[in-house]
Symmetry: C4
Subunit: 120 residues, 4 copies
């Protein structure tokens, strides 16, 4: 099985959208290189309350981009803006995941990306 | 053998070139530290269709930069702009790979880079 | 146990705050996905003197963001600005850590982030 | 022994310095967390010629930042600007390494950093 089942991204924060195009946003990008659909539990960790959890699916041999401000990408969850949080992905088949953020507050683009920490 | 045979980059997207210099672009940089030529299969994963595949070679003890908008770097493949995709590299000898993007839409430079997720 | 006990970030440097909002800053973000509190020793490495050390705690199933210019986040330590340093985290339970920097000197935002190198 | 002995950075390129402050530059940051001095061989890989090699030392429990445009940091080697190259570090004791670049061509700051790929 290709990829790993567990991925962590410690530093999440949904930036303000701004007025321009493209807008400020955050993404969790999940690649499923395997031949079975992946069911992924997303856990959101906070500084001062218990984690929230929901599930997303990623089709076999497809990439899926979760925009964290789009509730249909986030299992109905409405993420607050400008609040520190962390992310864990737990999948039933191997996946590969990356985090990206675009901030346009100044108003130039500032990109921020990191691969995840992964384990079996 | 140095390096790894398989590399993944979940978050690919070819940005618009813009009018300035340097232009907006994406690169896949492959370092072959071994004494044999590397034959690398590049697979491109999409959100809504089956993967595309082509091959590139990297000479021994050399680095090669694939510009994703240059069809001769991409085995003749013409990559669409501003479309989400993922990348897998599969090599017959160990390599080390990195992804870079330069976006100039605002029109300042915004860089985006990540090491790959790798496995044997 | 999820996560790793030891994390390194070679390239730390506290940028000037600037006049705008958000201000230039550095963060060490620590996610504790386990059910026990994490006691973390932070060691700061310098180019020309012996390391400094202090401790921080991270509650179970919480994320904590250490702003490196806030002495109460840094065990009372006052970090000099614009000086090269490196970071090691050593925890008694598994954690996942990331480093982030925001530089606003020009005065646009420039982001800089990296996952840590980790070992048991 | 903490850290790893071998580190790779596929995507090096020395940017133009520009006219402002800070100037555009590249850095290889090496943290030696061990109690012995590290002797590090730096190999530079090119697209079209054989690698160049030189040595640097990093004191025990210290961090050292190599500015790639400073010949005394690079074993006397004068790096060409705006040329693609890759980097390998091979050390006799464990180290942790990171790559950073600052580009000021537009003329805002654009940061680019990556952890290294590492192996024993």
């Amino acid at each position: 099985m290709a990829g790993k089942k567990t991925w962590y991204f410690p530093d999440g924060e949904l930036p303000p959208p701004g007025d321009g195009d493209p807008q400020g946003h955050e993404s969790i990008i999940i690649l499923n290189p395997n031949s079975e659909e992946a069911r992924v539990e997303v856990a959101l960790y906070w500084a001062d309350k218990a984690p929230d959890r929901f599930n997303v699916d990623v089709e076999p041999e497809r990439v899926r981009c979760l925009r964290t401000n789009v509730t249909t990408d986030m299992g109905g969850f409405e993420l607050p803006r400008e609040v520190q949080y962390g992310i864990r992905l737990t999948s039933d088949v191997g996946i590969v995941a990356q985090y990206g953020r675009l901030d346009v507050r100044q108003p130039n683009m500032a990109f921020y990306t990191t691969p995840g920490y992964h384990e079996d």
